[in-house]
Symmetry: C2
Subunit: 405 residues, 2 copies
Amino acid sequence: MKNRIFPAVIGLGYVGLPIYLNLQKKINTVGFDIDKEKILNLKKKIDTNNQFKKTDFFQHKISNFSSNYSQLKKCNFFIITVPTPIFKNKKPDLGPLINATKIVGKIIKDEDIVVYESTVYPGVTNSICVPLIEKISKLKNKINFNVVYSPERINPGDRKHSINKITKVIALENSKIKRKVKFVYKHLTSKLFFTNNIEDTETSKVFENIQRDVNISLMNELYIICEKLNLNYENIIKIAKTKWNFLNFNPGLVGGHCLPVDPYYLSYVAKKNKINTKLIIAGRETNDSMKDILYKKITTYLKKNKINYHAKILICGLTYKPEVADLRNSLAYNIFIKIKKKFKYSTGFDPLIHNTQAKKKMILNKINNFKKYKAIIFITKHKILYKIYKKLIINKKNIIINCML
Amino acid sequence: MKNRIFPAVIGLGYVGLPIYLNLQKKINTVGFDIDKEKILNLKKKIDTNNQFKKTDFFQHKISNFSSNYSQLKKCNFFIITVPTPIFKNKKPDLGPLINATKIVGKIIKDEDIVVYESTVYPGVTNSICVPLIEKISKLKNKINFNVVYSPERINPGDRKHSINKITKVIALENSKIKRKVKFVYKHLTSKLFFTNNIEDTETSKVFENIQRDVNISLMNELYIICEKLNLNYENIIKIAKTKWNFLNFNPGLVGGHCLPVDPYYLSYVAKKNKINTKLIIAGRETNDSMKDILYKKITTYLKKNKINYHAKILICGLTYKPEVADLRNSLAYNIFIKIKKKFKYSTGFDPLIHNTQAKKKMILNKINNFKKYKAIIFITKHKILYKIYKKLIINKKNIIINCML
């Protein structure tokens, strides 16, 4: 069997890249992405998200990166790890998922297996993806080919819960393919949890992220109350934590590709069925409003300190969360752009972002001299930035605004 | 010092009674309640809430229960453990707290200490209670007497987190009285956490309960979605729990004297300061709506099974949560009353409630023959009821509706 299974990972972002890098250590694997620039970088062992170092790019003899889909034709086990974002109107944008499905539909053969890892609302795999493959390929699910759903649980920036250490859920409706799927996925983690219901598994994944989003939103709501009532949020939480079951969540700017998106996926299908997801949406809106609250806090403070629009201002920490190098879907970056519109000589600074990203976005990733900035604002709490903050507040050479929640 | 401190516990409900019973084992204590019937029962070692057995009522030589406030005059350390409910319009009803404060105001002397344990919104102790004591007594806080805030963390029905095992927060603004307060409270638990800010501590307590209320409401919202979309809630949660940080909350009927109330306390003060507690209130409303959702589930099922309004129906489990004997603020009881209006021959049954309560409310607490009931509905999931449920579904003699979440 070992010789017969040839996997392809389709979509090489936060989810696909670690899967590819772990798989290709053990079995020949194709890493596919439609982004040609990304493929060029990966071939040079450069991960612009800074999650992987050059040494992580162990090269198996046949494994390779490609943006040419003819490379996928030799594969028989397709792992789809494309993003599932939302449109501006907050509705699910299944475009990347449908495009990846179409590619697979064109090349799928008898006995092939397709694994979806992307987060979706309940029903997408079986009612959208499967019929699309069947239509394009003229093959039948569960007869000619099989579809599996295995929700990704990648937490960018979290080394403690890397893919090898966590439990991976695998939903397959045809138990005959279990051995094949296990053969591939055991290379990722020894903790495999098999289940036979794809819809339940799709739902479990959105539930997980919604629970986190709602808990953070509660801390944001409580933080806002404390700020307005002049209560000491940090001391209050310190006291509350002495209770045996108080949960450790922090307020903050919720960005990225999961939490700000997944609640809308579930709400979309709920709304279609006339269910009002009042709490879930209230949480999402509270989290999203934090960018405006921090922006207002910053501008109020700048005004109070008579900083005019010609002053040099530095905004530090712009990625969507601490210890990641990604500016996409970042509320911190969003705040920076708004400040820049008001204060002409604002400069963005994030030591974690890659040189190519820094150049493209005209942001600094290195600074020697902080003195020239009248005001320095800290947003995303990278460890390295917190150290800089600690030094600068002692020096008292600049006006420092701490928005690191 | 031991001879000088003579505590009184004012309000002998879920909070006051365990404090009294623990204290009076070690030091002379007065147990005061305005409810004369309750005092008569307690003198006979009867706790109608069924939290304490007769053997728990160890009697110290001078300790005594009383509803006569002249008994408090000899005391110099007042622990106020009265309820803080809400009005029908959801606004805080500080009536019992103010009445208890007035009693203390009349008898307080130089060097006395007043400890508030009741849950309040931030500011109540210092801006309402203290001025009231000062006005009535003509004494000065921090000069003549001192006020302490120590939020209760009693979880009725939970023997694992009884008062002796948990951390007790004590907020005192005058460190000179710490020794006296410690002398009393060390008899309750060895884990005392001292802080000097009463407002922060008041806030921490409402935060704790709101976090729990919101998390349960999320599970309720997810449960409702599953019911309407025909998804298997239990299987979904089983899958989600394989993630390292998925939190173990269950959907359910949130009743009692804390969770359905405390969110409105914080929202009240927030609203007064023009802050919208959108998430907190959404959570509260979702939890409260569960009684209507379960009621509808029951009546739909009865209709489907052609149960007419003359049929004998038994509703089992009526207290506000499993393993407690209290019908007050119970959504299960609320559902029972609604069913009874529609189905004339409905009978309520809860094996945990006390005989006096059963008689008063015309509810059974013992049943020998289940056969005569056409339909049997289970709501509050007491362990003993779950056992009965298991037996009855095997027997198949009745129509069984399981609403035990």
